[in-house]
């Protein structure tokens, strides 16, 4: 929402974007300094993706851009132009939960739930990329998603089950 100002705050031109979000085409005009996560949350209204640090460290903001996991707090809204974005809301559109979500529930892999969408999107991308083959690699692949509540153990168990990765016995 650019404003004309008399003093101080500058006016910078907005940029047009056209992208697909959760299967729906969106055409819009954004202030370039708007981060993608802010745009998704407040511009598009998809608040399932969260903001945790705005520095690309915590992973709360993880979405899929063209199928690849990306930290949307580091992306500027204009950078979405021409890309396909998927957020947590697209994972279980109907009554049934996605098997990954079921695994997280069954293994008590969430407490406050704030980091959960980020882990889900990261794990889905892992499934496609086939990157993780054992527990150590899996933990490394998840090292870009922080959780302060769970100590990760149950998250790792759930994601390992979903990916078919063998876990070390506890």
């Amino acid at each position: 929402m650019p404003r004309v100002t008399d003093a101080g705050a500058q006016m910078t031109p907005t940029v047009g974007i056209r992208c697909v979000v959760n299967g729906k085409t969106i055409e819009d005009s954004v202030e370039p300094r708007t981060s993608l996560v802010d745009y998704l949350r407040h511009g598009v209204g998809l608040t399932g993706t969260h903001v945790g640090c705005e520095q690309g460290v915590c992973g709360m903001c993880t979405v899929l851009v063209d199928g690849v996991a990306a930290k949307s707090c580091l992306m500027l809204a204009p950078q979405a132009d021409g890309h396909e974005i998927r957020t947590i809301e697209s994972v279980a559109p109907g009554e049934e939960l996605h098997p990954l979500q079921e695994a997280l529930r069954d293994h008590h892999g969430l407490q406050c739930g704030y980091c959960t969408p980020g882990f889900v999107m990261t794990a889905l991308a892992l499934k496609d990329s086939g990157a993780a083959c054992d527990e150590a690699t899996l933990r490394a692949e998840l090292s870009g998603n922080l959780c302060r509540c769970t100590g990760y153990q149950n998250i790792v168990t759930a994601v390992a089950e979903f990916l078919g990765v063998e876990e070390h016995p506890a």
Partner: protein
Amino acid sequence: MILPPFEYVECTSIEEVIDALGDGDSDRDARIVAGGTVVVPMMKHDLLRPDVLVSLERVAGLEGVEQSNGEITIGALARHREVSRSESVREAAPMLAQACGLVASPVIRSMGSLGGNLCYGESASDPSPVLLALNARLHVSGPNGTRTVPIEDFFVGFYETAVGPEEVLTHVEIPRQPRESRWTYRKWTPRAREDKPLIGLAATIRPDGAARLAVGGINPTPVLLGSASVRASDSDLSEREVNDIADAAAAEVDPFEDLQGSEEYRREMVRVWVGRVLRALREVEVDR
């Protein structure tokens, strides 16, 4: 932490980028953005407040990895993940594949570009010491044409590179490495996994014994350890020689200090890790 306002310019060619960088008066601060994993955090941390961001995302000719006769050319926009998985890089410069596979965390690796990592001149960079050890050449384009910068001349100062304010890094060239060279890249973070390297040590030893050791995260810039790069014959380095080289390396560096470690600690880590790297290379069986 909303970013301060800036103008965003999309370019489709290098010429457009150079124009956009040079446009307007000298007071105007224009910066390049690619993946955003360096620039955006710096802006969020209030270290940079450019007036203009010039996007490279759509510029043709900056992606990809090409291989020709053992020499590799990597576009500045190639993502770390791409570099680490590239067959060509794994074959001809495996040390770089390894280093790029260790940058930050998995998602950052698929968002961040090699060029971006190099151009902000941060000392604690994984690819930088590797490129120093591999004697890379960097191609830069600007209003006065293109030029080649040897890697040793690239890191000019603290967060400062040889790329001028109106120039753009286009690609990185790695010369053919002799087969049967031994190599290793060791990264150490004393704390958590996502840390920058406290020390990132790259070493190659050619069959003729010539060695290049380079280190990032220690000096204000990534540097070649000149005095420690040693002539070694094909036979193993003795334990005494390894210790001498390690001591020389520790004496040679001029470490900065920050929250990761004091000056003395960095110096000591250079000594310890150079020793370990040389010992490890001594044991390496060379692939045929």
